[in-house]
């Protein structure tokens, strides 16, 4: 198991390096950053001056290594637009995004997995139909619409929670529900499908032949096997929540990293974009790594590299 973890760490590091290089290059291909900084209608001399001032006239590889070295020490440079250090802005914004991401995923898992297990344990019953209904609605409603409805009902009419901001912890409740509900249908359906398949497996019959009680068969023998694909899916979705919570952050006026990403893209703020892409990619890589390790712990057959 230790060898497995070390191998996976090594592979994750290689992937991270590749991703950092690709994300760096991609932004240069999107257009000349010097022209973007200089603004519309700037003269050739100004652009040339900016190019040498920011070091864009150096070979690409040199720029990459330089950027990477500084990024590793936490220095992502100055934002062109906000005129502030990128790392400071990210340090301020990221906790908000991480909080709603983790809360949203916990909400999704706590709702989806029990529903999926119950739906599979009692297929084609009222419970199954109800779970399916919840999933279909979650899949059909757009996040921004669902968020607005929640605000109208719980903030405006009932006044239970604030509609925006994070000054109180209650400000996180609605974003958590919106973000989590969005991830629920896929996890629920994968859990249900996995459980249904596993419950017809031979080893479940063996467990029943041993005289194991139904609940234990369900949770000890079936769930552990059925949950493996769910772990992989949840890791991807969590990564998506970190990078793609722009909509939710906008609706609830939360100044998170997703919102910052949207701002920097619309203003062509290269250092901020590069830093965020790198950080979001690192989250994906970290979650995938954790999912692999968790799955290997769940199923010994996955421990071979």
């Amino acid at each position: 198991m230790l060898k497995f973890v070390l191998t996976k760490i090594g592979m994750a590091a290689l992937v991270a390096l590749t991703v950092s290089f690709i994300s760096f290059i991609l932004l240069f291909m999107a257009g000349d950053p010097a022209i973007a900084i200089a603004g519309e209608g700037a003269s050739g001399e100004v652009i040339a001056a900016i190019r040498s001032q920011y070091g864009f006239d150096r070979p690409l590889l040199v720029q990459y290594v330089d950027w990477l070295m500084r990024a590793l020490s936490g220095d992502f440079g100055m934002s062109y637009y906000f005129k502030a250090p990128v790392s400071g802005m990210i340090a301020e914004r990221l906790p908000v995004t991480m909080t709603i991401g983790f809360l949203g995923m916990s909400f999704a898992l706590l709702l989806a997995i029990p529903m999926g297990v119950l739906a599979a344990a009692f297929p084609n019953t009222l419970i199954d139909r109800l779970a399916l209904g919840i999933a279909v609605v979650g899949q059909a409603i757009p996040s921004f619409w669902f968020g607005l409805i929640l605000i109208v009902v719980f903030s405006v009419n009932l006044g239970w929670v604030p509609a925006s901001g994070t000054r109180q912890w209650t400000g996180y409740v609605l974003p958590m529900i919106v973000l989590g509900y969005y991830a629920t249908p896929a996890i629920m359906r994968l859990t249900r499908a996995g459980m249904l398949e596993v419950l017809s497996a031979d080893y479940i019959r063996t467990a029943r032949a041993k005289g194991i009680k139904p609940r234990r068969v369900l949770f000890k023998h079936a769930l552990r096997n059925a949950i493996i694909p769910v772990v992989s899916l949840a890791a991807v979705q969590l990564g998506f929540m970190f990078g793609g919570s722009v909509v939710v952050e906008t609706i609830f006026a939360l100044h998170g990293a997703g919102y910052l990403a949207w701002e920097s893209i619309s203003r062509n703020d290269l250092p901020t974009m590069q830093a965020l892409i790198l950080i979001f990619a690192m989250f994906y890589i970290a979650f995938t790594f954790l999912a692999d390790v968790l799955n290997a712990w769940l199923d010994p057959r996955l421990r071979t590299v």
């Binding site: 191998t7 497996a201 031979d202 080893y203 019959r205 063996t206 467990a207 029943r208 032949a209 041993k210 005289g211 194991i212 009680k213 139904p214 023998h221 552990r224 096997n225 769940l298 199923d299 010994p300 057959r301 590299v305």
Partner: protein, 551 residues
């Protein structure tokens, strides 16, 4: 044999309904049987006879759609059909244990073997952790597994099929049940492993005070084990009696038909004609699988097929026998051009087949065709039989209409109706599908037909038909057949020569009578010794049975 004690299990007039719209109303109807202590009762029948359903009903493991509608299953004096699920669960694993057909999937891949055995004690007994562990290790020893301490911590995927089946048996034996139900427990195992497991059952009958219900389709296994036999057909008991009676003096026509279909243990063809020309020559074929060394693991080499030479004479049948992992399948893939051999050459008559290029290997398929083991997986379920049949011929340039004509003619040869061309594979039974597969193979007029375990998945009566069909076609069109099988009886029945493989090597080659009558290699002798039911030879059914007169 008289029993004074009450039977361990007594089934009275049991009827189990099938869901409406099936081919018959009852899965099992009006079945009665008794099993006593220290007795092995074998239920024999073909697929769909209701033999497994009977055993599942006793365990309370029937699928939800099957409901017992009449009768009772008395176990230790109580009718288990009237028990609640929780009460039945208390009996399962403690008073009654079950062993299943498929050892590869019968254990949970996520837990250690030790954990899965101990779970039985956790469910049914008050024991300390140390005591559970000690009992588990003792059980592993009792089912004759090597190194119990190590196996205790092993996961199922680290064990072979035979070892896994021993674990399942250990689980069933853990609480010393009075009733042991085994549903085809050796069908998925190699013959030598099967022999060891059957030996274990014989020992258990003596060492434990259990009654054993053994479900099987194999009359050799019956001959090896049974005290009493019950024959089922389409949910009905057609014959019941002592092993001696049923095996040697069967009275019901169905039993007689089944026993007649068991292949004979000796060659039936007589000495082959050695004067015919050579159809296929294999010279030094060799295949090694190797994985390159990577950053994370060392290189590995497996000699799947060591240098192999043999010839097959025109119009004859070569039987290739061996256990799983012996290299039969890799050899066949090399012959089919599905795998590129590392060394050696294949000659058809006097022309050498190109093995090094993909185009050359494609050429193989005009000359050599194959029928695979699994009749259910071998035909694309979404294509009509006609399309499936002509695909190969059209691929080699035959016009469509001409190919269709040929397909029609071949269907007649494999004894299927012409309208089969417009139907889908799902509409045919296993035996019929295997006939279609044979017709498909013959479409490109190959010189050589390979049958890779082509009858292993079929019931014994269907198996007999398909074997006969293959042999008739061989005679009619002068086909040369290579017949791969793990079943020595089948090999003896159909072959002129036998080639025995073990660990990628040919260890013995000769005529059927030589190999079976006077085996030279120790592995061949071991294989023959492992055949179950060696004390029994299927009686000749041509002679009228004693009950025919009374009927």
């Amino acid at each position: 044999m008289t029993h004074t004690a009450t039977p361990v299990l007594s089934i009275r007039n049991l009827t189990i309904d099938l869901p409406k719209g099936g081919d018959r109303p009852h899965a099992v109807s009006n079945l009665s049987l008794d099993i006593h202590e220290k007795e092995i009762l074998c239920i024999v029948g073909e697929s769909g006879s209701g033999k497994s359903i009977t055993s599942f009903a006793a365990m309370g493991l029937l699928p939800k759609i099957l409901k017992p509608s009449a009768g009772e299953i008395l176990f230790e004096g109580r009718d288990v059909l009237k028990l609640s699920e929780a009460e039945h669960a208390d009996l399962r694993g403690s008073r009654m244990g079950m062993i299943f057909q498929e050892p590869m999937s019968a254990l949970n891949p996520c837990y250690t073997v030790g954990n899965q055995i101990e779970e039985v004690f956790e469910a049914h007994a008050q024991m300390s952790k140390a005591e559970r562990r000690a009992r588990t290790l003792a059980l592993l020893k009792e089912v004759r597994l090597p190194d119990p301490e190590r196996l205790y911590h092993a996961y199922p995927h680290q064990l072979s099929g035979g070892q896994r089946q021993r674990i399942v048996i250990a689980i069933a034996l853990a609480m010393e049940p009075r009733l042991l139900i085994a549903d085809e427990p050796t069908t998925a195992l190699d013959v030598t492993t099967q022999a060891q497991i059957l030996d274990m059952f014989k020992a258990l009958k003596e060492s434990r005070k259990a009654g054993i219900l053994f479900v099987t389709h194999d009359f050799d296994v019956v001959a090896e084990l049974a005290d009493r036999v019950l024959v089922m057909q389409k949910g009905l008991v057609v014959e019941q009696g002592t092993a001696e009676q049923v095996l040697n003096n069967p009275s019901h026509p169905y039993t007689r038909m089944l026993i007649d279909a068991v292949p004979k243990r000796h060659g039936v063809k007589g000495n082959p004609d050695m004067s015919t020309p050579i159809a296929l020559r294999v010279a030094g074929i060799e295949k090694t699988y190797s994985t390159a060394r990577t950053m994370f693991k060392p290189a590995r080499k497996v000699h799947a097929v060591k240098p192999t030479d043999f010839t097959v004479l025109e119009g004859q049948t070569l039987g290739i026998v061996g256990e799983s992992g012996s290299g039969k399948t890799t050899l066949v893939r090399c012959l089919m051009g599905l795998v590129e051999p590392d060394e050696g050459s294949v000659w058809i008559g006097s022309s050498r087949l190109e093995t090094t290029t993909a185009a050359g290997r494609r050429d193989f398929r005009k000359h050599i065709q194959i029928v695979f083991q699994d009749p259910y997986g071998a035909l694309n379920p979404r294509r009509k039989i006609g399309d499936l049949l002509i695909e190969g011929a059209v691929n080699f340039g035959v016009p469509r209409s001409q190919a269709m004509e040929k397909a029609r003619a071949l269907l007649k040869i494999v004894r299927l109706e012409e309208d089969a061309l417009d139907r889908y594979p799902a509409q045919f039974s296993g035996g019929q599908r295997q006939r279609i597969s044979i017709a498909r193979a013959l479409m490109v007029e190959p010189k050589i037909l390979i049958a890779d375990e082509a009858v292993s998945a079929l019931d014994v009566s269907v198996q007999k038909d398909v074997l006969k069909l293959l042999d008739d076609i061989r005679k009619a069109v002068g086909l040369t057949v290579i017949f791969i099988t793990h079943d020595l009886r089948v090999a003896a029945e159909i072959s002129d020569h036998i080639l025995v493989m073990s660990k990628g090597e040919v260890v013995e080659y000769g005529t059927v009578d030589d190999v079976f009558g006077n085996p030279q290699h120790s592995y061949t002798r071991q294989l023959l010794a492992a055949m179950p039911g060696r004390g029994w030879e299927a009686p000749d059914m041509a002679a009228p049975g004693p009950a025919d007169a009374a009927r």
